[in-house]
């Protein structure tokens, strides 16, 4: 059963048709590259899954159940997590504090409970080990490399046992050397059975770790192919419109 299914999703902003009748399914443990030019509707589509926008029409199903995601909190409650392009990290806090931001561990009873720093450091360390990332839970974010910051943002999604993780341009802002590190993090996340939607401009990323590629153009889905049946040239053609549809 697909973990995430969209059925005939559309979104209008006034007269503008941002997303038009898009249907897709994603299985657990699958990495799907979502590609398209600027303005193709990628962000709008992702924002509907993340609970930022309500679709004008269509249905969103998670684990076969129709859900209404009218707020980011609803999405999170249904197991959808997002890694934002800017990562949404606080530079002045430690890696562990960022992982647990908004969901801090506490010990003690009721109003007398205090933050459980040791518990948070320990759990964050385990998550970084799962990601095979050399990230120290007690280090401040401002001392970290781009790859380590990505690990922190990804570890945050693992905390809640997410079913679907949406990643917005995870390799856009980091050095070439660290791209491999981030792609490895994504693989380790996938190995835990998480479905990953990878929004990316970078063809090599999608072709390295993707199982499938979905191409949007002018709000419509123009391709949904297995990576091994496609090629970067074909996808480029689909993005630009040189190839109409496959």
């Amino acid at each position: 059963m697909p973990v995430l299914e969209l059925r005939n999703i559309s979104k209008h902003f006034g007269a503008i048709q941002a997303v038009n009748d898009v249907s897709l399914t994603i299985e657990p443990g699958e990495v799907v590259g979502l590609m398209g030019d600027n303005g193709a509707g990628k962000s709008t589509l992702v924002k509907m899954i993340a609970g930022n926008f309500n679709p004008t029409s269509g249905q969103i199903l998670i684990d076969g159940q129709e859900v209404s995601l009218s707020h980011p909190v609803d999405a999170r409650r249904n197991g959808v997590e997002i890694v934002y392009q800017d990562l949404a990290l606080c530079n002045n806090l430690t890696a562990a504090e960022n992982v647990f931001l908004g969901r801090e561990l506490r010990r003690g009873v009721g109003p007398l409970s205090i933050l459980d720093y040791n518990g948070m450091y320990k759990r964050a360390g385990e998550l970084f080990a799962d990601l095979k990332s050399e990230t120290r839970p007690r280090d401040l974010i401002k001392q970290m490399s781009g790859g380590q910051r990505q690990a922190v943002a990804i570890a945050r999604t693992m905390l809640s046992k997410a079913k679907v993780v949406l990643m917005d341009e995870p390799t856009a802002a980091i050095s070439v050397r660290q791209v491999a590190e981030v792609l490895n993090h994504i693989k380790h996340l996938r190995d835990q059975g998480v479905a990953i939607v990878l929004i990316s401009h970078r063809m090599p990323d999608v072709f390295t770790i993707g199982d499938r590629v979905i191409v949007l153009r002018r709000g419509r889905k123009v391709a949904d192919k297995r990576i091994k049946d496609s090629s970067p040239e074909e996808v480029t053609g689909l993005i630009t419109g040189a190839i109409e549809q496959v």
Binding site: P72, V73, R76, Y84, D86, L87, A88, L89, C90, N91, N92, L93, E97, L101, G102, R103, E104, R106, I114, L115, G125, F128, A129, K132, E134, T135, R136, P137, R138, D139, K142, Q143, R156
Partner: protein, 331 residues
């Protein structure tokens, strides 16, 4: 290559010593420790009971408000209204007790004044998106004017049936410690605890670090921001209530210009005006250093007109330190 991933993750980069050496608060403490013998050598009047008594007295009130201001500054905000709020809370307390009500009711009225002002500031800033500077600058004027309205611009020195209890509240001592100092220590411990050991404290610090990120991770950013302005105004009200008991009278010019000392104290103690950093102990040592500087200027025979220059200069120097550190971490 014999180091495993687990060992790398478990490794701790910064030791205690290094962290302490890097903190601004530590160097301010060093400055105080160095300054005291030097000043007592320069002026025989410095290490006398009377001078120390004077210093603790004035510094306590600044420190109590600086604790509240630290919350606001950590979120990246500023509260310019504290001096006027101190005055307004003192005046509502004084007028209430003067009308024959008990100390308890008077204190409640004073604290409620602080809560009301804080809510007004906080809601305008957090929910309507007003710049903190503008809102609290407006409140600086409003609160002092209201204090004049409430008291008809008179001096209140009769506090009704509980007159003596109010004087003890501000001027007495508990377990051998002057009451204001006692309150300051309790409030500092409370502030330190909240900042370090509660979710609320972490959220305050997170908002100062990256407000957008804090919103995305589901922290109730607006609620936290309203809360910090309420905390700051209540701290000003507490200082006002205690100071009323200490002085035994209230005029409509108490607390005038105090906002600058409070902000300077917090910043000297290591609170960052761009947000994201600040501690309770920093607020205390910042207030102490500021007061020692002020007091020693007088003892050293330097004209009192120079005080403002030194306080203003201290703020600018503290911010300069911060800038240097920022530039260094950028490289």
């Amino acid at each position: 290559m014999s180091i495993t991933l687990e060992q790398t993750i478990a490794k701790q980069e910064s030791t205690w010593v290094r962290r302490i050496l890097k903190s601004q608060t530590f160097w301010v403490v060093v400055a105080i420790i160095v300054a005291c013998p030097f000043l007592s050598w320069l002026s025989s009047a410095f290490l006398t009971d009377k001078t120390l008594f004077n210093i603790t007295r004035t510094f306590t009130f600044v420190a109590i408000i600086a604790l509240g201001m630290t919350f606001v500054i950590i979120t990246g905000g500023i509260d310019l209204s504290v001096g006027s709020v101190l005055c307004l809370a003192s005046m509502t307390l004084a007028v209430t007790m003067n009308a024959g009500y008990s100390l308890e009711i008077g204190v409640l009225v004073g604290l409620a004044t602080g809560v009301a002002v804080g809510l007004f500031n906080g809601v305008l800033i957090a929910f309507l998106g007003f710049p903190p500077f503008v809102v609290t600058l407006g409140m600086l004027s409003i609160a002092r004017s209201l204090a004049m309205v409430v008291s008809n611009n008179t001096v209140v020195f009769q506090f009704g049936p509980d007159h003596q209890r109010l004087l003890f509240l501000g001027g007495g001592s508990t377990f051998g410690i002057a009451n204001p100092v006692f309150y300051m220590i309790v409030l500092a411990l409370l502030t330190g605890f909240v900042l370090r050991w509660t979710r609320f404290g972490r959220h305050v610090i997170a908002i100062g670090g990256n407000e957008h990120a804090a919103t995305l991770t589901g922290i109730p950013v607006r609620g936290v921001k309203v809360a910090v302005y309420v905390i700051c105004s209540v701290a000003a009200a507490i200082a006002g209530i205690v100071q009323t008991g200490w002085l035994g009278s209230v005029t409509t010019n108490i607390g005038a210009g105090m906002e600058l000392q409070v902000i300077a104290a917090a910043v000297i103690g290591g609170a960052s005006l761009v947000g994201g950093a600040g501690t309770a102990i920093g607020a205390l040592v910042g207030s102490a250093l500021l007061e020692i500087i002020r007091n020693s200027l007088g003892l050293l025979g330097i004209n009192a007109f120079w005080q403002g220059t030194f306080i203003g200069g201290a703020i600018i120097i503290a911010v300069a330190f911060e800038r240097v550190q920022q530039l260094r971490t950028k490289d």
